[in-house]
């Protein structure tokens, strides 16, 4: 982190990048859920048909746009925040946020086993960066 970067700027950048990743992943997951099993779609209409089905979903395109913005946001965040803080913080926030968003928007059954997995993954990612 540079000396001129305040704590507010640091965590705004980290939070913004994580929020874009969460939005992108939930939109893509929602789009895939709506399309149904892609293996079956490919059996029915072939690989070009499956690709066409994915690319014609507005929800998928919105998710892909968020992931692209997430990529550029990550580049910006890395220019003002230390790599050793940015990567594990963004990854952990994204895993926790994904679980919350999946429960609220995708109505997934996030039981105790899955919450524990999210917690373990978040701590594990932070430890791996040490």
């Amino acid at each position: 982190m540079t000396a001129s970067t305040s704590i507010l700027q640091t965590w705004t950048a980290i939070g913004g990048v994580a929020a874009l990743a969460i939005l992108g992943e939930v939109l893509i997951a929602g789009a895939m859920r709506r399309l149904g099993d892609l293996d079956l779609v490919r059996e029915r209409s072939g690989l070009p048909g499956a690709i066409r089905a994915v690319l014609s979903s507005p929800m998928f395109l919105a998710g892909a746009l968020c992931m692209a913005l997430n990529f550029f946001g990550m580049l910006f965040a890395l220019s003002i925040v230390d790599l050793s803080l940015a990567i594990p913080a963004i990854a952990s926030l994204t895993y926790i946020g994904n679980a919350i968003a999946a429960k609220i928007f995708l109505h997934e059954n996030v039981d105790r086993r899955r919450w524990l997995a999210v917690l373990f993954v978040s701590i594990g990612v932070v430890l791996l960066s040490h």
């Binding site: 992943e25 939930v26 939109l27 893509i28 997951a29 929602g30 895939m32 859920r33 709506r34 399309l35 149904g36 099993d37 892609l38 293996d39 779609v41 994915v54 507005p58 929800m59 395109l61 919105a62 998710g63 746009l65 990854a91 895993y95 994904n98 679980a99 999946a102 429960k103 609220i104 928007f105 995708l106 109505h107 997934e108 059954n109 996030v110 039981d111 086993r113 899955r114 524990l116 997995a117 999210v118 373990f120 993954v121 701590i123 594990g124 990612v125 932070v126 430890l127 791996l128 040490h130």
Partner: protein, 147 residues
């Protein structure tokens, strides 16, 4: 709610685990061979596209995206997430056994936690059953259509 996975679906999840981390490692190795790219040497990016490591890395990352989306079409996001996190473990193990880097006790603990997380989730159902066109998806869909 009791979705059991087929062998082909386990293969997709293993592809999710392996392709991203191995693809990143191949890209990293290829770009190390190509050299540092800056504004005055953008031509190196074109040259990088002919490096076998970079080509293999790009193919694997396309494979990752395809397998990730396929997995999300029959499994919950919270089921697939630990599989993507397992890619970090593969990267750490590659750095230890392929690049002979040192792994600190912190990293070994991180690896153990992520392996446990995959174990927790893999033991449960892969998909939440609920009625089609749930309200949450409808809200997101109308928002996406407006973009």
């Amino acid at each position: 709610m009791n979705h059991r996975l087929k062998a082909s679906q386990y293969a997709i999840l293993i592809a999710v685990m392996l392709t991203a981390s191995i693809g990143d490692a191949l890209l990293s190795r290829g770009m190390a061979q190509v050299g540092a790219v800056d504004l005055h040497h953008l031509g190196l990016l074109w040259q990088a596209l002919f490096n076998p490591y970079v080509i293999s890395g790009i193919v694997l990352l396309i494979g990752f995206f395809a397998s990730y989306m396929t997995a999300l079409s029959w499994a919950d996001l919270t089921f697939v997430m630990p599989a993507t996190a397992f890619g970090n473990v593969v990267t750490a193990l590659l750095s230890r056994f392929w690049l002979h880097e040192h792994l600190s006790p912190y990293r070994w603990t991180g690896i153990a936690l992520i392996v446990c997380a995959v174990g927790f989730v893999a033991g449960g159902p892969s998909r939440t059953e609920h009625s089609e066109n749930s309200h949450g998806l409808d809200m997101m869909d109308s928002g996406a259509a407006g973009l």
